[in-house]
């Protein structure tokens, strides 16, 4: 395994550790595509990374000494990409993305990499990888083409409050604890901003139950330190239209699962 540190100035305070987000190169770049300069073309996770970056910028604007920031790591298991590591780093730089670390690993090791790097959130477009991540207790989110169409100016997180209904994108096995601690971090970040003009927006959807279900979910989130901006109690209505309206970058449901 080879890892290259692009930046070593990510602060780690006792109180507020950065939120480490690992994303696979498959998610960041469109596979097989190249722009006229021979660099990789932005893929599905692109808007999401830009949104994460926006959040960081705003956090630092509020407090230049802020340590609760997103720390993005790029992980790739593709040996070809690893051989062309400069192409990756160039592409990243060209697209204006800020990645603090690159982890080149092979398929066997990459799970360990996640754990060693204390990853709070793992983003991938590969279902197997997501599954593996979950099984290891890392909050793993499977990105799909919807993510690609999400806004870049604001990070939008959607909590799905019904334990029964798992987020379609994510595997069902992600550990509750990982989800809860990530949620708490997001909640904290959200708290750095006021009600308006926030670079993060948190929404809650409960699908099946009535208002009790919604009320419980709101309370659960609150107990994690998460104050939702919006809440939708659908009571059986299909989630599709709401999701299309909200355009969340990703969905989290594991906080509410009963096991």
């Amino acid at each position: 395994m080879v890892s290259t540190d692009q930046k070593t100035d990510v602060k780690e305070k006792e109180a507020d550790c950065p939120v480490v987000v690992a994303v696979t190169s498959h998610a960041v770049f469109e596979s097989g595509a190249e722009d006229p300069d021979g660099l990789y073309v932005g893929g599905i996770a692109f808007p999401l990374l830009q949104a994460l970056q926006k959040v960081n910028e705003r956090l630092l604007k509020e407090n230049p000494a802020e340590s609760l920031l997103f720390d993005v790591i790029l992980i790739t298991t593709e040996s070809q990409q690893q051989q062309e590591s400069s192409r990756i780093t160039e592409s990243i730089r060209h697209h204006g993305l800020k990645v603090s670390r690159f982890c080149f690993s092979n398929e066997e090791d990459f799970m360990e990499n996640l754990l060693n790097n204390n990853v709070h959130l793992f983003l991938t477009t590969n279902r197997n990888e997501a599954l593996q991540g979950s099984q290891k207790g890392v909050l793993s989110v499977l990105l799909d083409e919807h993510t690609a169409s999400c806004p870049t100016e604001q990070l939008r997180v959607l909590f799905c409050g019904d334990a029964v209904v798992q987020s379609e994108a994510g595997p069902a096995l992600a550990s509750k604890q990982a989800a809860q601690s990530f949620s708490a971090q997001i909640g904290k970040m959200r708290g750095r901003f006021g009600p308006f003009d926030s670079p993060i927006s948190i929404a809650l959807v409960t699908s099946r139950g009535g208002r009790e279900s919604c009320g419980d979910a709101l309370r659960t989130l609150r107990s994690l330190g998460v104050n939702a901006d919006e809440a939708y109690c659908l009571a059986g209505v299909p989630r599709g239209p709401i999701k299309r309206l909200l355009r969340p970058h990703f969905l989290l449901s594991e906080c509410f699962s009963s096991n």
Binding site: P195, R211, N227, E230, Y232, C233, V237
Partner: protein, 362 residues
Amino acid sequence: MSLNNGQSLNVGGQDFTKNGGSSSRAPWEDARTVLRPSTPTRKPKSPKPENAITIAVSSRVLFNMEKEQQIYEQQGMEEYIKYQVEHETEPFSPGPAFSFVKALEAVNAKLRELYPESEELFDVVLMTNNHANVGLRLINTINHHREFQGHLGDMSFYLFSSAVLIFKDNLCQICEPGIAAAIMFTPEKMKEVSDTQLRVAFDGDAVLFSDESERICKAHGLDKFFEHEKAHENKPLDHGPLKGFLEVLGKLQKKFYGKGQRMDCPIRTYLVTARSAASSGTRALKTLRSWGLEIDEALFLAGAPKGPMLEKIRPHIFFDDQMFHVEGAAEMGTVACHVPYGIAQRVVKKGTKDKETPNASK
């Protein structure tokens, strides 16, 4: 986010959007569909939206949030949210739409008795651009009223959304074709209304009917108006934004008649118009007939103020396109809604957005 929907109209100090029901098709363009497959609870099922008559109410018409509104206006959003959260377990008291919603549920109960399999029921949806943090207080309030008053339980959809982003979309979409919308005002002192019979009163021009005749009146005066109406007596007027709602009420009424409940039908409709019985009223009645719609009582006031008449009728809700009448009604204790449609709006004070003119409903 703004609690104020941008239309500062000040009778009773309240101003938000309350949607009258549309026809039996789901009225929402995209996100706010209300669909409920059967839920295995003891509560009565909520109907699927394609079968139901969906009525969306804003939290501030359903409940009295005057105090909180003041806090928002004077101290800002954060204080407002803080206050709401601190008082989370204190239920709100009823707002102007409360008795209307109760009456809807009473009608539902009777419909269920007579037609247990039917999904053609009112489906009340709470929509509010309140912050999600206020959601818990709203939920607690609904629970409270359910326990103590036995009603108001069956709302099937709650939407707490603070983002200006979302709400702006809502507002535009609410006023898209197909959705009847109106702004409800709180009377100073609400008169008591029936518990057993839902009463809905409509103005004629620019509410049930299009504003075509009003245009003539405004452009050419009353005489021209009478002439025109007489000449076109047999030509039905075009429909207005609330026609669909009347239609749907009529449909439900027929269901009651079908079970022998014509005399004390739980729904009663009224036309309260400035037209006069002697002349221009004929065209109104003929138009309704041509649409196959019945109205229980038609009151032709020939220009007299509507307030006193409404006070006698005691409708749960009254729709009019002219603020003059809305205010007049509210002064005398009727819950009146302003339908922001038609030529009358051009003459109104600044601040009214043009895009909030609802097109004719289905």
